[in-house]
Amino acid sequence: MKRFRHLLVLLFALALVAAACGDDTAETTTTAATTTTAAATTTTAATTTTAGEPEEKTLIIGTTDQIASLDGADAYAVHDWELLKNIGEGLIHWEPGSGDNLVPGVATDLGAFSEDGLSYTISLLPGLVFGDGTPLTAQTYADQINNRLLVLEGPNGVGPALGQPYVESVEALDDVTIKFNLTGTWAFFPQLLAGAPYIPTNPTQFGAELNLFPEAPVYGNGPWYIESYTQGEQAVLLPNELYHGERPALDRVIIRYFGDPQTMALAVESGEIDVAWRILGPELISQLEGVDGLTVETIPAGPIRYLILSHTLAPTDDPNVRKAIASLVDRDELTDRVFGGTTTPLYSQVPPGFLGATEVFDDLYGSPNIDAAVGFLAASGYTPDNPLELSLAYPPEHYGAETADIFEVLKEQLEASGAINVTLIAQEWSTYIGAVIGGADYPVSFLGWFYDYPDPDNYLSPFISNGGLGTMVTDPDTGEVTAGLDPRLTTLLLEAAATSDPAQRIALYEELQQVYAEEVVTVPLLIIAEHIVYRDGVAGSADFPSMETLNIGPTVEFNYFTLDVTG
């Protein structure tokens, strides 16, 4: 027994010694009160060396996202697109920080549609090369789109989703001129072209086959290249020496991948990382707001949340029931009670900042309006003595644990009318999403959406066309508008997609949103505003809009080249 005890003590002592020798510099788990002192001593990043030596400015960005694919012909996730947009530059792209200003990238200008709208021609700047010296010509680009985006079908599926349906083929008219032959008249094609799938990619690394995880270094034609990356750990970006534009202010960008937001929040508090971006929940955001040395900014854009109402299942096939629901939802209460004020109420399926966006649901229903709701319900025979039995379905984990809270509150809001009895159905994501899209199970369900291309068409068409993700306002096979609903839903949609005149499109989309709200295709609820947290010393560029949010605007694109660190 005695020997035993001695052994114990020895082991324990060894462990303590090892732990003590270990990680005292990089590791801090102190509480917020002592963060300022800790941060001062643990300047691992964003520091400059003493005068006389060349300064190396490094920025460390933390995220809980993961790299799912670095191949532009396959990648479909927000973080993949972010990397692609930093190591590559599209022919045209959004001005950093803006939501509605398209500017040329590696093209000479924004390009133009042909007369009939079925093709789009644009010219490249001369003498472009990728980061490893491979030249970028019109032919290179045409080959890339024709042989990769329009043909390859990767596991993440962006090619079949954003390439094939819109582009027939691409021709190189000469060394610099590119002509897109479209499958139809798509007025939003420039917005599509500004997206990640259409960014030029290096043929030496992305050839005939898909290459989801190319060997580092990964060169594009943008301001950065990926020097190295390890899944789940970090990615290191360095400036691309052969970039045609200005060299970025930073010398190095490290993206650190975290398994969970709490650890990331601790890391930004302690100074281990400089920026925390995607995805901190509302609790962590409010926690970090009070911390000295950190700035928390809200970006007025992000994924939206809405209710899908089935127009073919009872009881939501009854327009009165749909209007009653639209009159009872209290978006402010959802924002305050469930999200602590960190979300934004959404009054139209097209979020603010997009072309032609209105607040039609507020104008039309002014919810919460219990009297109006009672009226609608009574018109269909639902009273406190004969209440409406309504079930609401939702996925408890996929959109965050707050989803359950949203529905607890929604249940109260709907039952406040006195004439509705709500049953909540929680269903696991994989089962749920198939059932929602199938349209045969849930009269009311809950989904989120983030744009494929920042255009009102992408916020309306998915919920109208081909069954509308369960709204069933059109037939999933024929595309015809369901009997009894306003046929303008499809006609206006097609017209606005084909018209290139912005003023005309605005008018069309305003009318479409009005019809949309009258038929209550969906009930838009909230925008889950994105938040960015950064330490003092990190700044965006004053040359572009939204400097306080590090030049991240309504398109939620994070351009690292606008960033700088001071001191």
Partner: protein
């Protein structure tokens, strides 16, 4: 490192030594028993794997729908499902699955980066083992110590104290204990980190060959990494170890009490040997035998507790992997993980049985 290889190494080596010993020195009936056990293990694992395979396929939902969600038309989803081999007839998929197991391939994950599952398991299994092993050692130390003390001081205050401890610690939900330790030592006192296996920055300096962070850091002489890894292990190990110790305290106490009532103990007492020596030198050894074999059964509790501990401390182990992949319908990963669990459990119980038969001369076959 391939997870099966790992399992075989860790459990197989000591069990193999025991096996050889039995075959050389044991009776023919013992040999027959061992061979029968090994022969039974295989079909058991196979049946379990088959069950898991089919149950998963019955589940509504699939990895493509789960990953794309509302994005992508039905045609796109159908195409992607075909590319992943999910539209093939179910028997062909089953055949592929069996083939994978036999060649130790385990297939590719159906979600995210589509990495080979054996790579992912090869990273996760060592993490779980690095959690379970120190926790078991801690639990045994505490359990045997407290249990013996309790038995020696039967019916006195300290006996009830230890019994209360074992019952209270067992009654605490393991994830609650983890949360409390996180709160107390992690946030309030700041003595230990509350998530992950190793500090993020330090972790990038480490060469991972075996994926046992402790071993890797010793091999490469990376003492910062070793310190960080041990530092991160403190709270999760404490959580799992304390909860498990409750079980061991009880078991040890009961076994020691029973042993102390055996005739040879009475004889030893009568001969005038001091109580201290009697308890620790004579009784304890014999009492330990059933306790150690019961470790084998506690593997079930260990793995269950590991899932919860891993969730609380964001420990990237096999338990958490399983829970994540079930929700994203990653069939390949889930069926491979559960098969791995089954093999793991089967091997440990076989190993424990072999050791038991070696230790306890009373065991006859």
């Amino acid at each position: 490192m391939h997870p099966l290889l790992l399992t075989f190494l860790i459990i197989g080596v000591p069990a193999g030594i025991g096996l050889v010993y039995i075959f050389v020195r044991g009776t023919s009936s013992m040999r027959r028993y061992i061979v029968t056990r090994i022969a039974l293990t295989l079909p058991m694992v196979l049946i379990l794997a088959t069950l898991v395979f089919f149950v998963l396929r019955i589940l509504p939902g699939d990895p493509v729908t789960s990953a794309l969600g509302p994005k992508g038309s039905p045609e796109v989803k159908e195409q992607l499902r075909e590319n992943l081999g999910l539209s093939d007839p179910i028997l062909i998929q089953y055949g592929r699955f069996l083939g994978n197991i036999v060649t130790f391939d385990f297939g590719e994950s159906l979600v995210g980066a589509h990495r080979p599952v054996s790579d992912e398991l090869g990273e996760r299994l060592p993490a779980t083992i690095e959690l379970i092993l120190p926790a078991t050692v801690l639990a045994l130390l505490i359990g045997i110590l407290f249990g013996t003390w309790a038995a020696a001081r039967r019916k006195r205050a300290s006996d009830y104290g230890f019994r209360l401890y074992s019952v209270v610690i067992y009654a605490m939900p393991i994830f609650w204990l983890g949360l409390l330790l996180q709160l107390l030592f992690g946030k309030v006192l700041g003595w230990a980190p509350i998530a992950g296996r190793i500090d993020a920055i330090v972790g990038t300096t480490l060469d991972r060959t075996t994926n046992f962070i402790v071993i890797d850091s010793i091999i490469s002489g990376n003492w910062t990494a070793l310190g960080s890894a041990l530092h991160h292990m403190i709270l999760p190990t404490l959580t799992l170890g304390l909860v498990l110790s409750g079980v061991f305290v009880r078991l040890t106490r009961i076994n020691v009490i029973e042993t102390l009532q055996e005739d040879y103990v009475t004889a030893a007492n009568a001969r005038g040997i001091r109580k201290h020596a009697v308890t620790y030198r004579y009784a304890l050894k014999n009492a330990m035998i059933p306790v150690i074999t019961l470790i084998g059964l506690q593997v079930a509790i260990l793995l269950a507790g590991a899932v919860l501990t891993e969730t609380v401390f964001s420990w990237p182990g096999m338990g958490r992997y399983l829970v994540e992949r079930i929700s994203s319908r990653d069939f390949t990963a889930v069926q491979s993980t559960i098969t791995m669990f089954a093999i793991f459990v089967a091997m440990i119980s076989l190993a424990v049985d072999i050791i038991y038969s070696l230790l306890d001369p009373r065991v006859r076959y």
